[in-house]
Amino acid sequence: MKLKNKKLNDEEFSQERKQVLATWPTGAEVNLGEGIAFHRSMPPHKNFALKLLQARDTKTTLIRCESGIPTLDEFSSYLRYLQNEGQADLLGSHIDSLTRNQRYQEAERGLQESVQTGKWVLNGFPIVAHGVAGTRKLIEEIDLPMMLRNPCVDQRLVAEIGFASGYTGTSGDPTMALCHYSRNIPFEDVIRKYQYVYRLMGYYTERGIPLIASFLGGFAILCPFSVVMAGSISAAIIAAEQGVKNFSMAFNTQGNVVQDVAASVVLRKLTKEYLDTLGYQDVEITLDMTIWSGQFPDDEFSASTVINLGVFAAVAAKSELTTVKTIEESKTIPTREASAGSLRLGKTLINILKKQDLQLDVQAVATEAKMLEMETRLIVNKILDLGNGDAAVGLVKATASGVFDNPFATSQYVQCKVRGVRDYQGAVRYLDRGNLPFNQEIIQFHQEKIAEREKAEGKKLDYQTIIDDLASISKCRI
């Protein structure tokens, strides 16, 4: 099999479906026609994409948080609590990491132990163990749109079961899966598995059920935005080819508000532009600004502020969605009270700022956005070049040669040559640009910003600075 950014044909797709569904008994519960009928029977306000488009029209920022509890009853009551007491606008389900890694047997054992002991033995919702019948109960008990939160290498079976059960979107994309959820799986394989997931989403979409895909492009944890955005734009192109029409372009805010807002401007603009140019015109793009995803403060008060700061950036950027962490992020899977409270924290800020139409320093945002746009364009263009116009092939080659990269990737196929560091104002800059295809203007810009901090602190920035900067937000500074 040779990788290509080309829509899977019906034959290929249905062949592969048989294999996928056969990997675990609950796969047999999936029936596409029946799944589509189920979606048609759901009220439109339970569709993730439609709700986000409404937010875009009304210039509102919606809010959700992450959660995943093993047992059905407890997860259902947890989610209803977030819906009613947390005023969540949208919800989702973190899949446990055994399921993510196709260890369905162990996930099933973990589920049983959780049911028996009443303890949460798994770190998420083992959807494959629950199957369509079980999962649908969950979907039916919640009156909000639900998204799968499942960024792993092979989410094909989870997606099949999830969509058939009534989830209306999924997060995780090939770049994320490669960079942070795999060790030695070749990028070709990862992309190929995602092409299946996106084709499945296209299949529903073509039948009038818009399913939304979320793209992160790798974690922006002390990593400059341009390289992760180049990743998510490339992944979006791959999804578009398979028929995905609804794109939730996500990124982690990193705490410098001007830079976070500038990133939103660039990501929205370039996603639209590249999809458009490459012939995918009838698409809908929304943003999802998630809270800082690195280490969190232990102190719950300080954690509240870190959450608020991310929500603030999202509102200032007029992002359609913000995904918040909870005040217990540094500790463990949060209690429902902590999750609901963290949602209310953000909701209060959104409601108070809603009509204020707050504009951040237009000049500073524009300067930041200009550089970021130039950087991102250079990377995406090079990716497309390397693939002779094929984003999938290009992405694989780009990763091999370090044109696409991430400082904290777990995969042996990612070079991890780029290094980010904060500048004097806390914006993230390239301390090492690795093999990113940058021009002199960009290189100089980053050097100057880094020199500014070096001057202020009277010392060279090095690996120790990176370690310190990684921890700085958890220490309540930047």
């Binding site: 990491s97 949460w120 060790r183 463990t332 777990t410």
Partner: protein, 146 residues
């Protein structure tokens, strides 16, 4: 006892099981390397077998297991027994990260893992200086014993 003369000891490091949290162990490695240890880094999603093979091959003094996702119990169980089977009688087993979901009492968790044969168990807010100190002491004692 060490396979390299000029180090304080050889340590095999990795994140066990299906876990992908890499940042913690990278910081640990950085600190220990600075402190003069020889690090054999296995990265994420390391199986028990991989840990053991690496320890045998490099004649390691200690295996440093990181586990953040909350599934530590599932993945660490049986590791000590497998070490013994492989003839790694005296290898030190260190464990750190966020071990138990919804942990209410750290001492209980520590106890749990000690019973599984782990020599030292560390809470998430551990200072790395303490780990270095423990390793220096334990490696020396081990060297004297063997």
């Amino acid at each position: 006892m060490n396979n390299t003369q000029n180090t304080k000891g050889t340590l095999v490091t990795g994140v066990i099981g299906e876990d992908v949290h890499i940042v913690g162990i990278r910081s640990v490695e950085y600190a220990l390397r600075q402190a003069g240890f020889n690090i054999v880094s296995l990265g994420i999603q390391v199986s028990q077998e991989e840990f053991i093979n690496a320890a045998v091959e490099t004649n390691a003094d200690a295996i440093l297991v990181s586990s953040l996702g909350g599934h530590s119990k599932i993945w660490v169980a049986g590791l000590r027994e497998k070490c013994e089977e492989a003839g790694l009688d005296h290898v030190l087993l260190y464990l750190g990260g966020k071990l138990i979901i919804g942990e209410t009492n750290w001492e209980d968790s520590e106890q749990l893992f000690k019973e599984m044969g782990v020599d030292r168990v560390y809470p998430p807010d551990i200072k790395l200086a303490k780990v270095i100190e423990d390793l220096e002491n334990d490696c020396k004692r081990k060297g004297e014993a063997s």
